[in-house]
Symmetry: C2
Subunit: 201 residues, 2 copies
Amino acid sequence: MNTPQAHLVDDDDAIRDALAWLLKSRGLPTATYASAEDFLASWTPDTCGCLLLDMRMEGMSGLDCFDALLARGAALPVIFLTGHGDVPLAVATLKRGAFDFFEKPFNDNELATRVGEAMVHDAHRRAVHASADSINLRIQSLSPRERQIMDGILAGKYNKVIADELNISMRTVEVHRANLFEKMQVKTAVELANLLKSPQA
Amino acid sequence: MNTPQAHLVDDDDAIRDALAWLLKSRGLPTATYASAEDFLASWTPDTCGCLLLDMRMEGMSGLDCFDALLARGAALPVIFLTGHGDVPLAVATLKRGAFDFFEKPFNDNELATRVGEAMVHDAHRRAVHASADSINLRIQSLSPRERQIMDGILAGKYNKVIADELNISMRTVEVHRANLFEKMQVKTAVELANLLKSPQA
DNA sequence: GTGCCGGATGTGGAAAACCACAATATCCAA
DNA sequence: TTGGATATTGTGGTTTTCCACATCCGGCAC
């Protein structure tokens, strides 16, 4: 897991340096990139924190960079910076999942605050994701038969009913049930149901 | 429950009539209001569908109307219409939960499409809400003791353990358990867990 | 004050879950 | 070919759930 950082992408050296200084002075770890291409080249699925993206840049635009990230399945919160007010663009970008959209000139305090919120948001997202991953991993370790029995259990059926439906003996259901409880690291059907509910789908 | 409608609020008679005609011609039931005050006066918690709100109006502004609705706990999807591009306003409004934000002149097809989507969204929201209400109603019918026993059950504890923790006999726990299953309309602990998970919190 | 409700408890039994020990069969990879 | 994972079944026994029948107590409303 990479260290959470504010990833700042702007092709204007002066602005980039000023913004980086602002963020660092607020205690926000910051990495800078002179182009969207540079950022994408260094990006990995572990990249986390948040992304500050200038909309208009030489080469790849901020929007193109956002598209590229979405295509790669990134979930990094993105804060856009733009110089020229464009309501439809701002609205469309937010609806596509951008975390925020700042028009220059912006208030330094507001931006720094939002960057901090974005990083908290991302930390929370990663925590939830890690929990979901752990559960999905356990589910994938189940054999097909065990998954069938689990479905029956989650439907609140008696072992006897499950056995009838699958045309196997009750004893076999009991064995699969014990095995899948072991794999899912639960002791009761209720714990299993709780596990499969909370975080993801 | 009121009939789902597009509630159109605009103080410009010509625009309001034109928009209402547009929406009705697309098969979207539409009600019109000449002011935010008129709409708020007719609003009830049952008002549903979606709200089309002109930002700049005589008297109460669209934003004020939005605030008033939020204060009343309304969950109606709101689509804002504005004549003067203002990125910070659009961004702030969307972040506060507006469904969409259109800048004039807008494309009729896009607007009508979004109105349709907003109404679908609201119908879905109401369906989920109704289900959650039904469950909350059942929970509220439980006695305090029954709720305690339910907590224990949802934690996957044996009746024996619950009894020890509450310093009562196992038999009493069994009785409460049966009673609360009756009230919650479930037959097994797993069904109870499933019920309390899906929709709300 | 009588009745209803919530709460608590007991006996006793049927049904289901839970578990240890034991065995067989298939498929697939080392 | 041997071993591991998956799937299947049985015996026998303990624990827990689930339920019918019955009793007792305190608060509260009519």
